[in-house]
C-alpha cells in the first residue's frame, strides 16, 4: 500500500538531478570568489608587513610600502562620505516623506535610478568639467571626492528611501493623529527606525568608493607623489590607482607586490564594511516591532 510506485521513483530521480544541477551552479559561482581571495592571500600575504603599510614606495615604486596610497584612499572615502551622506539622506527624506506622488516626483526617482547606471568614466569626465575646471578645485582630493560622492549618491538615496518606506505607515498615522507635524514624525519615529537601512546604503557606498579608479584618475589621484597631501586641495595617491600602476605601468616590478596592494585594498573594504555591519547589528538589536 505504501510502496513506491514507478512514478514516485522517476520523480525522485528528477528531483535529485535538479538538486545536483542547482548545487553545482552555486559551486561554480563560489569558485571564482575562493580563487581570487585564495590567490591574493597566498601571493600577497608575504609582502604585508609593518613597513609595507606605513612607509612610502621607493626605487621607482618597485620596493618600499604603500602608506601614501592607503592614507589617500581613506581620505578620499571619508570626504566623499561627508558630502554624499547628508545630501543623499536629505534628498531621500524629502522624496519619501514630503514630495507629492505625481509625475514630477516619479521622473526624479527614475532619473536617480538611471544615474546609478551611468558608467564611472562618464562621472570622471563630469568631475573634471565641474570640480576641477569650473569650480577651480584643480586636480585635488576635494575634486576627486566630490566626483565619487556624485557617483555614489544614487546608492545612498535609493537605500535610504527604501528603508524609510519600510517603516510601517501605521507609525506615521499614529503620530499625525496625535497632532505631530511631518518633521516631528520623521525625527522621532521614522528616522530612528530607518537608520539600519540607511547604514546599509552607506556600507554599499563605502565598498564601491574605495575601489573606484576611473573617477579619481582625472580628478585628484596621482601616480606617484613624494609627499603626503597637506590639505584637500592637494593631489593624493590612492590604492586602486596604485594597484593599476604597479600591475601594468612599472617595469621590473616584483611579482608579489601588486598582490599585496590588492590584498590591502580588499581588507580595507572588508574592514569598513564589518564596522558598519557591526553597528547595524547593534542598532537592530535595540529595535523591535
Amino acid at each position: 500500500m505504501f510502496e513506491a510506485t514507478q512514478l514516485n521513483r522517476r520523480n525522485e530521480t528528477t528531483q535529485k538531478l535538479f538538486r545536483l544541477a542547482l548545487g553545482g551552479m552555486t559551486g561554480i559561482l563560489i569558485l571564482p570568489v575562493i580563487l581570487i581571495l585564495g590567490t591574493l592571500i597566498w601571493k600577497g600575504a608575504p609582502v604585508i608587513s609593518f613597513e609595507f603599510l606605513f612607509t612610502g614606495p621607493t626605487k621607482g615604486m618597485t620596493a618600499g610600502g604603500i602608506f601614501p596610497a592607503l592614507l589617500g584612499t581613506i581620505l578620499l572615502v571619508l570626504v566623499a562620505l561627508l558630502a554624499s551622506v547628508p545630501l543623499g539622506v536629505a534628498a531621500a527624506i524629502y522624496l519619501s516623506e514630503y514630495a507629492p506622488n505625481n509625475w514630477f516626483t516619479r521622473a526624479i526617482n527614475l532619473a536617480i535610478i538611471n544615474l546609478a547606471g551611468v558608467p564611472s568614466i562618464v562621472h570622471a569626465l563630469f568631475g573634471v568639467g565641474a570640480f576641477v575646471i569650473f569650480f577651480k578645485f584643480g586636480t585635488s582630493i576635494l575634486a576627486a571626492s566630490l566626483t565619487l560622492a556624485i557617483m555614489t549618491l544614487p546608492v545612498v538615496i535609493v537605500a535610504t528611501r527604501e528603508s524609510l518606506q519600510a517603516v510601517p505607515e501605521a507609525f506615521r498615522e499614529a503620530c499625525w493623529n496625535m497632532g505631530a507635524t511631518r518633521w516631528q514624525t520623521i525625527r522621532r519615529v521614522v528616522l530612528p527606525n530607518a537608520v539600519t537601512g540607511i547604514l546599509t546604503g552607506v556600507i554599499l557606498e563605502v565598498s564601491r568608493t574605495a575601489g573606484e579608479t576611473a573617477p579619481i584618475m582625472f580628478t585628484g589621484a596621482a601616480f606617484f607623489l613624494p609627499l603626503l597631501p597637506q590639505s584637500v586641495f592637494d593631489q593624493t595617491m590612492a590604492l586602486s590607482l596604485h594597484l593599476f600602476v604597479v600591475s601594468t605601468q612599472v617595469p621590473n616590478m616584483p611579482e608579489q607586490l601588486p598582490y599585496g596592494v590588492a590584498l590591502v585594498l580588499i581588507s580595507l573594504v572588508l574592514l569598513m564594511n564589518s564596522l558598519s555591519i557591526a553597528l547595524r547589528m547593534y542598532l537592530r538589536g535595540k529595535k523591535k516591532w
Partner: protein, 267 residues
C-alpha cells in the same frame, strides 16, 4: 485663532460635541457621503453601524480631517466640533488632531517604550521640551490608571510597547491620547483585532471613559453597538438612515432598512 473652545467637564445639559450639516464627500468622482446632518451629543458614546462601504468610517475620518491626506478627497458642508467649524481656513490642523483623538482598528503603538508612548503626544505639544521626571511620571500613571492598564505595566514602563498583547496595546493607544486632554475620541472598530476577552476589556474601558469624553465609535459588531453605546447611528449608501437612542433603535427601529440590517438580513 488656533485653540478651540475649552471643553467643559461632565455636562448635564444636552450640549452638542459634533454637528455636521450638509456634509458631502467625494473620493475623486465617487461620492461617499450625501448631505449628512448629524448632531452628536457631548459626553456620551455614540455608535455608528452599517454595512461595509456605507460611509461610517469616512464620516469618522472627516471629523479629525485625516481623510484630507488622500489628495483626491473633496468635502462640502460644515463640521462643527465643540461649536467651531473645523473646515474653516484659519483652523490649525495640529489643534484639530490634538482635540480630537483617534483609535484605529489595529492597535498602533509606536516602537518605543510604554512610557514614551504615553508621553509622545504630550511632548510634541510641549515644544519638544521634557517636563521634570516626576511630573511626567504623574502623567503616565494617570493615563494608564484611566485605561485600567497601570497595575499590569507599572513595573515595565521602559519595555517596548510593541511587546504588549493586542488588548494592552489598544488600551495604551487610548491612554496616549489622554495627556493632551482631547474632547472627542474617535474609534474605528477598536475591538475588531481583539479576542472576545480583549473586546470585553476594551469595551468596559470605553464605557468608563464616557462622560469625560465624547466618544464616537464605528463598529461592525451589532452586539457591541447595542451594549456599549447610548445613541446609535445607522448609515446606508452614504446617507444617515436613522439616529436614535440605542435601546430604542434596537427594539423598535423606525425604518425598514434599519430593522433588516439589525436582524442580519443583509450587510
Amino acid at each position: 485663532m488656533t485653540a478651540m473652545a475649552p471643553i467643559p467637564g461632565r455636562s448635564t445639559e444636552r450640549s452638542l460635541a459634533i454637528r455636521t450639516s450638509k456634509l458631502n464627500l467625494w473620493y475623486g468622482t465617487f461620492q461617499a457621503l450625501f448631505d449628512v446632518d448629524l448632531d452628536i451629543r457631548q459626553g456620551i458614546i455614540t455608535s455608528m453601524i452599517g454595512p461595509s462601504g456605507c460611509g461610517k468610517s469616512t464620516f469618522l475620518r472627516s471629523v479629525n480631517r485625516i481623510n484630507e491626506r488622500l489628495g483626491y478627497v473633496r468635502t462640502t458642508g460644515t463640521i462643527d466640533v465643540m461649536g467651531q467649524n473645523i473646515m474653516d481656513p484659519e483652523v490649525e490642523l495640529v489643534q484639530v488632531r490634538k482635540q480630537i483623538g483617534m483609535v484605529f482598528q489595529r492597535p498602533n503603538p509606536l516602537p518605543i517604550s510604554i512610557r514614551d508612548n504615553v508621553l509622545f503626544g504630550h511632548r510634541i505639544h510641549n515644544a519638544g521640551k521634557r517636563d521634570a521626571r516626576s511630573e511626567e511620571d504623574g502623567i503616565v500613571e494617570n493615563a494608564l490608571q484611566t485605561v485600567l492598564l497601570w497595575d499590569k505595566v507599572k513595573d515595565k514602563l521602559d519595555k517596548k510597547a510593541t511587546a504588549l498583547s493586542l488588548e494592552e496595546q489598544q488600551k495604551l493607544c487610548i491612554a496616549r491620547l489622554l495627556p493632551v486632554k482631547p474632547g472627542v475620541l474617535l474609534m474605528d472598530e477598536p475591538c475588531s483585532a481583539l479576542d472576545p476577552k480583549g473586546t470585553e476589556a476594551v469595551e468596559e474601558l470605553i464605557w468608563e471613559l464616557r462622560g469625560e469624553y465624547t466618544i464616537l465609535i464605528v463598529t461592525h459588531n451589532m452586539a457591541q453597538a447595542r451594549r456599549a453605546s447610548e445613541e446609535c447611528i445607522f448609515m446606508l449608501m452614504g446617507k444617515v438612515v436613522e439616529h436614535d437612542d440605542t435601546g430604542q433603535m434596537f427594539v423598535t427601529p423606525k425604518h425598514k432598512e434599519t430593522a433588516d440590517y439589525i436582524e442580519g438580513r443583509y450587510g
